[in-house]
Subunit: 459 residues, 2 copies
């Protein structure tokens, strides 16, 4: 048996994860539109043999436009541009099940997987903001439970669409004049509460069978969803104890759902602020925090907590009468994390903003490469993580420092690969390629398409 | 005043536009999934100084999977992959207004425009097949008129989303800590019969302001739509007289809608089959036609005409009792074109299939480079075209022959550019960049979001 190896994902975002990174002297505040910049980051990740790069996304402006680069390129399109200039690193795009159609989205991911030779991953999110809802004809955020029910049906439809072409469907028989064997391309005739989709997809089964399925919600519903569908989980955890509890919980839920817990990779976020000495790291951390404008950050915090910013005086603690998680229809787990952090550490709003500025709830860690490698090893061996979602506070420098100084230490400790042994994203994460169905033709007549049973009206 | 110059678009499709091109001895039947192959084609187009390359699209399988490469990559994703390896050629993707959401689609085109430095174009189609409708919860194709009404509202919303960031919104003021000026990023608060979209977009105004807007429907509704919204029109025309009539008609409609007719570029399709002698060209044409399997082609024709294939014996003319165009809810103009072609030339089904095999209704022209250049000049100067949608029967060879042998003749005749004078797609087509709105803030209170007035239900 080979040693257990950790997995590393680089979470890319404009000038870095610290909200003030774009204000640093060396920063170019317009890299958010620059595909060549992100391609260089992906090549840096590839030089470091990382499993994947990743973009978050939401179909609405996230945060305050004054505060940081809030204009973002759509991730499937951006990752396609990055695919051709990279050869190994995985390419994970976030897309919402609440505000997409399964047919179109399944097809975009299949296309990205074909273009990249099997390196596509989908971070499945249900989108927790009212702003997004209002861009799609809704006046209110759909209820949390409904969003996850819709997501489950969406993913089921997407899988069946990817399987609607058998792997051996397209034979390209020039002399016989048969490009694909019709019996190997099958309609899915899905009819459920949220979607009716006839199929088949018009893009053949992708190289990975299905793109890697990633999930990033940590509420009760989110964990259940992850346990059933996700192959990798991004999560924000502030303490080792919380991370261990989360890790054990989702593995247990996965096993209860009949899955192999080893095929669910848990990747907590870590925001490394790297210096060659501890002092240098802290100086960078402090410089960044000084660049936060508290009014902007407070407005964003107020949005997340669904409060009037007036109710958050900067030098007072959070109001005592905040609602409980089960009254929140937005991002439940992030809400709880922020409130718990403020209460546990007795932080004022100003202090809380400083803590969130780096990672918006992810664990910020300022230190030397040795310290960071030691923490990673500790979490990895203590049952808290199968790997990490690396969120450099400052880009590109933070990723370069991680690749050049932390990765070699992880390799020396025998924790991380010293070369890519596969070419697909699934291979990097040690996850199997789902076999195609090869289901026999339906017996009996094809079920007629029946009336709409719910969900979406005609368009 | 500079001489009127023609515009050339290369319509890319797997092994070429002839349905049997994939069966030729030199053909690789799996190029349809190969982004590097399409990138080479785009570079060939760029070597020939062409205005743009283009992909058709529909969210369903088009044609018979046995017949030809029917698995296709989603065009915005594919063109993003091609953008980074090209510098000038425009990148036009087809996307349906019937089966997309304005917010998501406007954002993908804005992203492609940012990634390509202002080279994105959108071929706006309403999608005329029942197969597509059934992939989006519908049992029937939405009525033709409804599709175009929806398209008009969709395009209006998309334009306003692109304009929701002023060109000068993002200032990146590092010392002041203002990334974008909030008053320059405005909600659109659209509420119409089909869509309610609050905005603003979460991607800043693209380099071209709006991507180039192209349209490809030629029915009455299609022409009206084009006259109001399109800046370039792809059209299938079989004869010079038909093309002249179409050209005059859409320019007149454009003027009637208050537009400058010169800002509506009409590009008929041409399927050149190029040989160094006429005989060589005809031999290639005949070889291709011999490779058509009539059963497959008949099934596809039956689909277009919405007939049982049994009603199309190969050696008989089309049935006499076909419905008139106004009874057709699918692709009206293509239907009429095919029926008219068969009747005018008294073709059997087998002969009709031969004529359509090359261009599915576009004008196939087998000849020498001189003959093709002369035809292009004739149509261009006789008021039938502002340029051409070049649809090589065989790829890559047909595009290479066009670029290497036809383009120099067009340049020698003073009809075509000898270098790119701009870098954006709008500049290539001689079309202005739409100014940003700079609309003053709304006076009075913001209109409340009201109940759904129609269209799409919540999701
Ligand atoms: C690393 C990470 C990245 C995430 N990225 C996104 C994202 O891009 N878009 C999104 O809507 N939610 C994203 N989420 C999820 C939200 O933070 C939030 O957890 C979710 O929307 C609601 O899930 P919950 O209510 O189950 O916690 C991400 C979460 C994590 C941990
Ligand atoms: C060159 C060309 C390309 C076209 N590409 C597409 C396409 O990719 N997808 C599509 O749905 N319709 C496409 N169309 C339009 C259809 O052929 C048809 O005209 C349209 O769906 C219905 O328009 P009409 O009923 O107004 O004629 C194209 C038309 C032309 C001339």
């Amino acid at each position: 048996m080979t040693a257990r190896r950790l997995h590393l994902n680089a979470f890319l975002m404009s000038n870095g994860h610290h909200e003030a990174a774009w204000r640093l002297p060396g920063a170019d505040p317009f890299v958010n539109h620059d595909a060549a910049y992100f391609t260089r980051l992906a090549r840096t990740a590839e030089r470091g043999l990382l499993d994947s790069v990743f973009f978050a996304d939401s179909p609405s402006i996230m945060g305050e436009v004054a505060q940081r680069p809030t204009s973002v390129l759509e991730p499937t399109v951006l990752l396609a541009a990055m695919a051709t200039a990279t050869t190994h690193v995985g390419l994970i795009a976030t897309a919402s099940t609440t505000y997409n159609d399964p047919y179109n989205l399944a097809r975009r991911f299949a296309s990205l997987d074909h273009i990249s030779g099997g390196r596509a991953g989908w971070n499945i999110v249900t989108t927790a903001t009212l702003d997004a809802a209002r861009n799609f004809g809704l006046d209110e955020l759909p209820a949390h439970r409904d969003r996850y029910e819709r997501a489950a049906e969406f993913v089921d439809v997407a899988r069946r669409l990817w399987d609607s072409w058998r792997d051996d469907a397209a034979i390209g028989d020039k002399s016989g004049g048969t490009w694909a064997v019709p019996e190997r391309v099958r309609a899915i005739e899905h009819s459920g509460p949220y979607y009716r989709v006839h199929g088949p997809l018009n893009t053949a089964r992708p190289p990975q069978g299905h793109p890697l399925l990633v999930q990033a919600g940590s509420s009760e519903h989110g964990r259940d969803f992850a346990a059933r569908h996700a192959e990798a989980i991004f999560t924000a955890q502030q303490t080792l104890a919380d991370a261990q509890a989360f890790y054990a919980d989702v593995k247990r839920r996965g096993a209860a759902a009949g899955r192999d817990p080893e095929q669910i990779k848990v990747l907590p976020g870590i925001v490394p602020v790297i210096g060659s000495t501890e002092r240098e790291a802290r100086a960078l951390d402090e410089e960044l925090d000084r660049l936060i404008l508290p009014e902007h950050a407070r407005a964003q915090l107020a949005g997340t907590l669904r409060l009037d910013p007036e109710r958050l005086p900067l030098d007072a603690p959070l109001p005592a009468d905040l609602p409980a998680e089960d009254e929140i229809e937005g991002a439940k787990s992030r809400y709880t994390l922020i409130v718990k952090l403020a209460r546990d550490e007795n932080l004022t709003v100003r202090q809380l903003i400083g803590r969130l500025g780096g990672g918006r709830g992810h664990r910020t860690f300022a230190g030397t490469p040795e310290q960071i490698a030691a923490t990673i090893e500790h979490w990895f061996t203590a049952g808290a993580a199968d790997g990490f979602n690396v969120m450099p506070a400052v880009l590109p420098s933070g990723l370069e420092a991680f690749v050049d100084h932390v990765v070699p230490l992880l390799q020396a400790r025998g924790l991380f690969r010293t070369e890519y042994t596969g070419t697909t994203l699934r291979e990097h994460y040690g996850l199997p390629r789902p076999p195609d169905g090869r289901t026999p033709p339906l017996a009996g007549p094809v079920r007629p398409v029946t009336a709409l049973t719910g969900g979406k009206a005609g368009r």
